[in-house]
């Protein structure tokens, strides 16, 4: 009698484990692109965040259509640079045969924050608390570099006056 209980218990637990792992196997999105947490810096608008390198459709989905678009072609037609001007920020989009991606973001008022919640008017201490000590600090601005992206805060008497995301591969 004891043996039979033991074997049925064994098969039961085996089955449960199998189902669990299968369940995990099915819905888990294995190829590891769980959101773009790998991007160091980003900007948050209406709760959603985007960053340099994202496609322009991501920008338009989150921030809607810009007030105005200025265009600048390049000689030897190697793509166009488009400046999307919004009320609270201006974003540069580089358009070439590889698609159109965000190349530069500069915030113009405190309605939009960085993905760590820093906005224009915040104190320098808030910035260093959120992002740690900067790569460069020359009094008028402090910069954080992470791979291809850089986040630059303009500082005037200890207050953040400008926030810009720039590509470092100039």
């Amino acid at each position: 009698m004891k043996k039979r209980i033991f074997s049925s218990l064994l098969t039961l637990s085996l089955a449960v484990l199998l189902i669990l792992t299968a369940l995990v196997g099915c819905d888990k999105n294995e190829n590891g692109t769980n959101g773009d947490t790998d991007k160091a810096f980003g900007v948050t608008v209406n709760g959603k965040s985007f960053s340099l390198g994202d496609s322009v459709s991501v920008l338009v989905d989150i921030a809607g259509e810009p007030q105005s678009i200025a265009e600048a072609g390049s000689c030897g037609d190697q793509g166009t640079l488009k400046k999307y001007t919004y009320s609270s920020m201006s974003v540069l989009v580089l358009e070439n045969d590889k698609g159109s991606t965000i190349d530069y973001i500069s915030l113009s008022n405190d309605l939009v924050t960085t993905d760590k919640g820093i906005r224009i008017g915040a104190s320098k201490a808030d910035v260093t608390e959120a992002y740690g000590d900067p790569n460069t600090d020359n009094g008028t601005n402090i910069q954080y570099i992470s791979g291809e992206f850089a986040l630059k805060f303009g500082i005037e008497n200890d207050k953040v006056t400008s926030i810009t995301l720039i590509r470092t591969t100039e």
């Binding site: 669990l20 792992t21 995990v24 099915c26 888990k28 294995e30």
Partner: protein, 530 residues
């Protein structure tokens, strides 16, 4: 340094020059150095792993050899005083000790492979399970996979097991063993060579023969043709299809299956042609990895024609040892008593098949889709094995059918499609989505817009489809002419003018139609993440 980079071509030219310049006796040294130089290109930190495998296998094999010699010496020393049973008991005891050494070496080497390749997957799965209960996920370890680790580990372990079984002569010179482990062409994606077949050729190579050298070159060019002109061209469309799978349902899934079957055939057999071609040019014969796989009538036959060296490795070192182990046989006997003779006899076959296919799946990649891919293949083989009596009765009713051309063709197409469907698990990389996509083939209307020109906005123009079409026809005719034992080059050898012009045309088409350089994004073998 991938096979399709200019650097690799330069490396090859240099290697051929230096190899044939060194005197025969020291050619194996050049090969060893070439292998390590090649391996260094993939990153110096990888060296630790390949050296660890080489050194550990060398030590294990020498220890086992020492034990075996002592055993023979002991037995021959007191042959008279021991009767048959004592001798058998002593041999069994000694064998157990050697077995322990073997197991330590196996666990060590497979341990390296497992930690590097599967730790991320294991943590991912555990996170998944704990995630179900709301636990916070552990950090995913991101370990760089050394180049070709799955291939050289399996090749070396095969050698160790053969040495344990006495099937392979133990290599006393560690450098020569290192050469076997890191023989550079087959390091990246096989074929997984057997020590007894490869080692003699590596250590005392045959003198230079221009016929064999040019056969090798022809095969290399043929490999590049398949890889660059066909495989990498299709890759463009496949990336599009897989970029956003949800928007490419229905007919597009069928297209993906066909594309992937052609692409993986051209890519993998092309890569192996280059590998075997390089070895042949160096005067070394490697085992064939493919024998016209798409001509197979059943799934079982398919797996005897596709990636042969892997199949035979799993068969000889996992499937058979497991099926014929004492515990399996006792289990079968007990099962026969309790569940009846018929089912009981099948137990060893079922259990070892499932385990072997599970390991085959996990070997291909650390992901559930690979495991399910393996188990599906296993299911198809076992089910069709169960149904053989049914097939036999069916064929006895229509005797002429078995020879009927159309029926045979139907069987090949059926196997081709079945393998294509199962293989597409590799593409979707997610079990749930794969089944959903297969389902959508019969439901969603994707067929309509795909046929109404949707094919042309996948990044392939009419010109590309034409090239792929002609490429497939060329591949088919060459494989038809050469048959299973690849005689096409011998046939061409007697007509040098025809052979030279064909080869020039082939090289030119690779240069002109190949999907390489900046016009196409970097092309790499699908199997390179091994």
């Amino acid at each position: 340094m991938s096979f399709t980079s200019y650097g690799f071509i330069a490396f090859l030219v240099l290697l051929f020059g230096v190899y044939f310049a060194t005197p025969c006796r020291f050619r194996w040294v050049t090969l060893l150095l070439a292998g390590y130089v090649f391996y260094a290109f993939s990153g110096l930190e990888n060296f630790i792993f390949i050296l660890a495998t080489t050194v550990s296998s060398y030590i294990a094999s020498m220890v086992m050899k020492g034990m075996a010699d002592r055993e023979d010496a002991y037995i021959s020393a007191n042959k008279e005083s021991m009767d048959k049973d004592a001798k058998r008991a002593y041999r069994a005891k000694e064998k157990k000790k050697r077995r322990a050494v073997l197991i330590v070496a196996l666990v060590f080497n497979f341990g390296i492979l497992a930690t590097l390749k599967y730790s991320a997957f294991a943590v991912n799965t555990v996170n998944g399970i704990s995630g179900l209960f709301g636990a916070t996920p552990m950090r995913l370890p991101s370990l760089l996979l050394p180049l070709g680790i799955s291939f050289y580990t399996f090749g070396t372990m095969g050698y160790l097991i053969d040495a344990y079984r006495g099937r392979a002569k133990v290599e006393k010179n560690p450098a020569k063993l290192a050469l076997f482990v890191s023989f550079f062409p087959s390091l990246i994606q096989g074929p997984i060579s057997r020590f007894s077949e490869l080692e003699p050729q590596l250590v005392d190579p045959k003198p230079f023969s221009s016929k064999v050298f040019f056969f090798g070159l022809q095969r290399i060019i043929w490999g590049f043709f398949k890889k660059l002109v066909i495989a990498d061209r299709i890759l463009v469309a496949m990336n599009m299809l897989l970029g956003s799978p949800d928007s490419y349902g229905g007919g597009y899934v069928f297209i993906l299956i066909i594309f992937y079957s052609i692409q993986i055939y051209a890519d993998f057999t092309g890569g192996i042609d280059i590998t075997i071609g390089i070895a042949e040019a160096l005067g070394i014969k490697l085992a064939e990895n493919f024998k016209r796989p798409f001509s197979s009538k059943t799934t079982k036959e398919y797996w005897e024609r596709w990636h042969i060296t892997m199949g035979s490795w799993f068969r000889d070192y996992i499937f058979y040892p497991m099926s014929f182990s004492r515990s399996m046989m006792n289990l079968s006997k007990k099962a026969q008593k309790r569940l009846g003779k018929n089912i009981g006899a099948k137990i060893p076959l079922y259990i070892s098949s499932i385990v072997t296919w599970f390991v085959t799946g996990i070997w291909h990649g650390a992901g559930w889709n690979f495991i399910v891919w393996g188990l599906l293949n296993c299911a198809v083989i076992l089910v069709s094995d169960e149904l053989t009596p049914l097939y036999r009765r069916f064929h006895s009713k229509f005797p002429k059918l078995a020879e009927n051309k159309a029926y045979l063709c139907f069987m090949s197409v059926r196997t081709f499609l079945l393998m294509g469907v199962i293989r597409s698990l590799d593409c979707y990389r997610n079990v749930g989505r794969s089944f959903a996509m297969w389902g959508s083939m019969f439901t969603s209307r994707g067929w309509g817009d795909m046929l109404r020109g949707g094919m042309f906005d996948l990044g392939l123009s009419l010109f590309d489809y034409a090239v792929i079409g002609i490429g497939c026809i060329v591949m088919y005719t060459v494989s038809k002419i050469s048959g299973d034992d690849r005689v096409i080059r011998d046939k061409l050898y007697d007509r040098p003018i025809l052979c030279a012009s064909l080869m020039t045309l082939l090289t030119l088409s690779v240069l002109l139609l190949g999907a390489y350089s900046i016009g196409y994004d970097a092309s790499s073998f699908i199997y390179n993440q091994f």
